[in-house]
């Protein structure tokens, strides 16, 4: 949504190097550089992270909650994707 405050951006912060970037909120900014600086000022005032991603909200594609059932249903009955589905002989350790 764009208005007099510029478009909306989504902010992702990485807490420590090696960890995933986690969505932490959003903000308004007019361009990329401003979005990054605003994200730093708004979401990392207390050393909450070591790296930031910003992306325009309009570029996020999201699944719809109304389709939650049918969208994720294919994974429902595939217990063979989990290691506990398989029997390993007691004599075999460390597998």
């Amino acid at each position: 949504m764009s208005d007099s405050q510029g478009p909306m951006w989504e902010v992702f912060v990485q807490k420590k190097s090696g960890q995933p970037f986690v969505h932490c909120g959003n903000l308004h900014a007019f361009d990329k550089e401003m979005a990054l600086q605003n994200a730093r000022d708004l979401y990392t005032r207390r050393m909450e992270g070591v790296a930031i991603w910003v992306v325009k909200s309009e570029h996020i594609v999201a699944s719809s909650p109304d389709d939650q059932g049918s969208f994720f249903e294919p994974a429902n009955d595939k217990i063979f994707r989990h290691p506990t589905f398989y029997q390993v002989p007691d004599a075999i350790k460390h597998m």
Binding site: Q5, G6, H28, S64
Partner: protein, 313 residues
Amino acid sequence: MSTYNFEEIFESKLAKNEMIEPKDWMPENYRKHLIRQISQHAHSEIVGMLPEGNWITRAPSLRSKIVLLAKVQDEGGHGLYLYTAAESLGISRDEMLDALHTSKAKYSSIFNYPTLTWADVAAIGWLVDGAAIMNQVMLQRTSYGPYSRAMIRICKEESFHQRQGYEAMTRLAFGTPKQKEMAQDALNRFWFPTLMMFGPPDKESPNSDNAVKWRIKRETNDELRQRFVNQTVSQIEYLGLQLPDAKIKWNEAKNGYDFSEPNWVEFKNVINGNGPCNKERLNARVSAHKNGEWVRAAATAYAKKLENETIAA
């Protein structure tokens, strides 16, 4: 083909303590209630920068100055978290700002009182932020996801606000007789306006019923107010200050303090624009917005120029 009963799905989510997210179906009145509450909460954070900002240049030491600057900056940040949470419900930032600037939207009545002395800044941190935290701790478990996430972040940052206020109050209360007098005066003036922050009594609160039913709020105005008084009395006693209300008295039966009701006529007057600083606060916001217009125009033009350069390249 199955048909969904949206209302039932919504109710069952609330019953299971699940969060409602922006794309979920929600009753129109739930959406409206949230937009009103979250935007007014955001406005309160932004307008709340003004009474304290008033003292930044006159803070009594460099330490108190950097603390106050950090606190006021936090309040600005809290306003921004909340505005974007409200925007996820389909209202634009411009619409919200416009509602504030034309007095269609309200903000917390407390910020229409002046900060006459440095002790008032201390009292705001201690009492006003203390009362706000009580409300915000509850709101961390509110049923709307983006609001809840904003509150969790805010609560993490907020606890330093109350502690710095109480520390500043302690210095005054244990300082010279004149400083102690200043502390007492600030407590006396801010006590009842702080109690008003929790909103009108339950029996007269027009917005509370649905808010509790929808789990937007989990406790009522009166419950929060009582808890605040219970918690604060011993903090006043520690400072060696007099209680600001002669009727404050421990009541064993209810396991809490009795206290006087704030003046609800004054509350209504202040909410409706006739408090000591309403005009000043609103003018400050409107002129800040107007004076920033050229900055927004320049930033828009610059962004457009960058975009065109990218396309050309």
